[in-house]
Subunit: 218 residues, 2 copies
């Protein structure tokens, strides 16, 4: 299992960038304290995806912050990204691991406590518990699981011995409660990348997360 | 460059199968004389794509007919397919070659004579000249190039020394003219996979192609 720092996981894509350059946005977010970056783009053609991933990877050079690509193992390989994030409809973790090798970071979306309990049998590096709150960044047909659902999923997934993040509708106002419910970090889209000042937004979120982790004794 | 038999290139996907099992359809098409198969599916999630590609690959076992995957190098790798077919918006041929290795079959769509002329500089194995006739299988914003456009593209691409196929609206009624215009084979979707009897449809198309190639002295 590869070590992953999930404290502030920034997920960027053309739909949530207000037309701004993704490489510049990512550099700004990392300057504010993002610890992990994911490119999530479900619509662009493959050639454009590879170019975008390469430009973000170049923007991250020297930062030590890894770049993961949502769903697309081919794009991650072609762009020299550090790994992939997989949903439950994406490639199976074991197939992605076979293609990417042992050093790649592979994360898996956990939509239910059953998904979280199954994480222990996956050759993954982290889990990310989805649908915590309502969000405008993604269409989620299921109702939000809330803090109680998050705590239950964390409990179900803890046996995997991997870091567990949380995603959906998380902002500076509720991030402390998310960490208090047991998550090891927060994944955000609009809270950082739709902000006028992504560096300031990331810095504030990171301070909230770090404070809540300290309060939890983590 | 890997040898590729483009004479009857069957392209299959869930949108053009009338709900029938793709593995069974492909086996029927190959029984009728298809020389190459492509899985083309622009909408299914990655996990389903990998499963479909594996089932088609299993259906092709022992036939000697290769399976290519449209666009998705990751799916081709995970499913053990024989290569990929790339459009002009898909991954660059050189990137796909680096990921798939020298023995994979890589084909490229050529939409214009300029694309065809550029084929010589690509590490590809064949070209497929698109948009020959009007088709219901794919939305093509450009007007069809017709037999004269096809002949011009073939002339522009011949210097690459690779086989050149043709696609869009090709059926048993016009296939001989397509071969007469210089194509080394025809790529078909609905002419085989929407047919009530894909084996009979493939057999008839293959006979037309073989006859036209013989008439051309190819």
């Amino acid at each position: 299992m590869n070590p992953v720092d999930l404290r502030l996981y920034g997920i960027v894509g053309p739909d949530n960038a207000r037309g701004r350059d993704l490489g510049a946005l990512v550099a700004a977010a990392v300057a504010g304290g993002c610890t992990l970056i994911q490119l999530r783009d479900k619509t662009s053609p493959t050639r454009a995806l590879v170019e975008t991933a390469r430009s973000i990877k170049a923007a991250l050079r020297g930062s030590g912050v890894p770049l993961l690509v949502n769903d697309r193992v081919d794009v991650a390989l072609a762009a020299g990204a550090d790994g992939v994030h997989l949903g439950q409809d994406d490639m199976r973790v074991r197939d992605a691991r076979a293609l990417l090798g042992p050093r790649a970071i592979i994360g898996l979306t956990l939509k239910t406590s059953a998904d979280a309990a199954a994480l222990a049998s996956e050759p993954a590096d982290y889990g990310c518990i989805g649908g915590v709150f309502a969000t405008a960044s993604k269409t989620n047909p299921e109702p939000p699981i809330g803090l109680d659902g998050l705590a239950a999923a964390v409990a179900a997934g803890r046996g995997a011995g991997m870091p567990l993040g949380a995603i959906a509708g998380i902002d500076a106002g509720n991030a402390a409660a998310v960490i208090g419910a047991g998550a090891d970090g927060i994944a955000v889209i609009s809270a950082v990348f739709n902000a006028d000042d992504p560096t300031a937004a990331a810095r504030r979120l990171r301070a909230v997360v770090d404070g809540a982790l300290a309060a939890r004794g983590a």
